[in-house]
Symmetry: C2
Subunit: 359 residues, 2 copies
């Protein structure tokens, strides 16, 4: 951090699983943190959250609660963000929002810290944090975009229940315990039991047959990578894993690419770690990535279904609560602080935004 002026930071949704991780990541890093204000719904207000050796009381998230706050990290759902983010921004707070509420708004930059931090330049008080499954893929695709070019991407996901929230983690735990006890498994968060299953439904279904989660990978990747016509397809699947999302990725490139070069390209991206040694059974795993901030890539190999060496297949794993949500939000806050871009006042208007929302 080049700027040492302490910043007043609020976390909205501080009692949720991502909100708690935001507080944890802020505490771990060398962030120029002044006041830390923890906000949540009226239901959770009055609870206390332990931050290092301090105990902080959670306050109710209202517009007035943002008075004096420089940066607010939101992870409280799209409805809360739609209502409260403009109220916070009107008070001079820069909002970094983890919900889907603002991601496709042309006046709101959608930013992965390693990929398009330059888009922070034109924020008007709200910055959007991408969806977790898009987040871990974008830096890896950036490496291919900038070297050999991308023709088409197919990605199938293996997503953990923590992406849904603490209730879903408790539901998997409950079903596991019911299995061991020989009792029936009860499902209420998911439509079907998640224990010992693979559920091809994440978020709601759209009219085109895709789930919203799958379509986020399509539309958000295009925006973040500044490739509005990127051809990309996704099947998003929930698996009985607590933390970290895994992704099987197949990219058709414009120029030929060997696995050796692909590994070098991936490893050159900040925050990306290549773990790829089949002989020692080394490849990224959900359980290993949990609690880590990096994006892990392995199983890099030529894709034989694309001609002329223009296909590459690989496996990407990252902690969906950290890089997939909290860590990227904090990295955005750090970059805003470093560049002196925290305040929205005087920022360029939406008309000058260089990125168009894809159709």
């Amino acid at each position: 951090m080049s700027q040492s002026t302490p910043l007043s930071v609020a976390v909205v949704g501080a009692t949720g699983v991502v909100g708690r991780t935001m507080v944890q990541v802020l505490h771990e890093r060398d962030f120029p943190l002044g006041e830390l204000r923890l906000l949540a719904s009226g239901r959770s207000a009055g609870r206390t959250v332990q931050v290092g050796d301090r105990s902080i009381e959670v306050l109710e998230a209202t517009g007035d609660a943002f008075e004096g706050v420089d940066i607010a990290l939101f992870s409280a759902g799209a409805e809360t963000s739609k209502e409260l983010a403009p109220q916070a921004a009107a008070r001079g707070t820069t909002v970094i929002d983890n919900s889907s509420a603002w991601r496709m708004d042309p006046a709101v930059p959608l930013v992965v810290s390693q990929v398009n931090a330059g888009d922070l330049d034109w924020h008007e008080g709200i910055v959007a944090n991408p969806n977790c499954s898009t987040m871990q893929l974008a830096p890896v695709l950036m490496a291919l975009r900038d070297s050999v070019g991308i023709e088409r991407v197919v990605v199938d996901t293996y997503q953990s229940v923590s992406g849904t929230g603490a209730d879903a983690m408790a539901e998997l735990e409950g079903q596991i315990r019911a299995h061991v006890a020989g009792e029936p498994k009860e499902a209420s968060i998911y439509q079907h039991p998640i224990a010992f299953n693979a559920l091809p439904e994440i978020d709601v279904f759209l009219d085109n047959g895709y789930t919203k989660e799958e379509w986020k990978v399509v539309t958000e990747s295009r925006r973040i990578l500044h490739l509005p016509e990127l051809r990309i397809s996704c099947t998003a699947v929930r698996v009985p894993v607590f933390v970290s999302h895994s992704e099987a990725v197949h990219v058709e490139t414009t120029e030929p690419l060997t696995p050796e070069r692909a590994r070098r390209l991936f490893a050159s991206v900040a925050g990306v770690v290549v773990n790829d040694d089949p002989a020692s059974h080394a490849y990224p795993l959900a359980t290993d990535a949990a609690g880590r901030d990096e994006i892990f890539v392995g199983r890099v190999r030529q894709d034989p279904s694309v001609r002329d060496g223009r296909g590459i297949a690989f496996w990407v794993v990252s902690d969906n609560l950290r890089k997939g949500a909290a860590t990227n939000a904090v990295e955005i806050a750090e970059q805003l602080a470093e560049r002196g871009w925290v305040k929205a006042a005087g920022r360029r208007g939406a008309a000058a935004a260089p990125v168009e929302t894809p159709a």
Copy 2:
């Protein structure tokens, strides 16, 4: 069954998880079963297996044990098959082998019952049963091959531990119980804990960076579909599911194809059931498919990453122990019996085999 002459059938590997399912499927179906001989390694000989209301003693699998046997269903691993299948065939027994030992032998038909039963015509005493992940995909791809043509296939799998065997099912169960008890998870069958994880390693690694399981999907699909140049890529992943494999599939077709027509094409294949109603959260699930003989297809939608409506994406689920192994083997036995092709004697030689092994 059109032929009512009872056949003497042996199951080799009768105490394993697939062998037990072979016995179960034979018992359930209207198979013209005479003697049922259960064979296994010397270690398992002497054990008894309950078949309906009968208790059958397991005998040691030796060459002589096949005397008088018309059809032998093998599921005892590649080494046992390499040694014993020729000995059985030499005694006039037709072997239907579930291991990888003979699948790429040009003198051995590799058959999915709905797809290429005609290849049984030229068997010389050994027929190969495909790998489970290939098995459930081939009938679905056949529907596309025969209507709109296939340019390229990408398939990523979500495979259950029963594909590895009973020991792997016990390992997942043990890790689940250790989790509930707060004890460390022990892994011995798999290289890493399978509970709450996604392992991108099934079978051994090949020099090209693919696992043998992934490469089986490539080479076996080409043989079964009579498409020796088929462009197909796979990432094979083990997930904490007990029974049934799920697959996310993306097909680039030669002619345009709508999701509506794709559903009709899939539903027209024997043994394939389309379950696809997002509005009621209806799609194939591993837990629903377990114990069923059908292949279930859902989540059928246009793939936006292929131009001109020539892309289709879908989700395929089937019980890997039944259609993926035992049921297909029994279906092959039924077809051999129906067509009077049980005996290898006088069969055409390998030179006349219409299917070449792909490079």
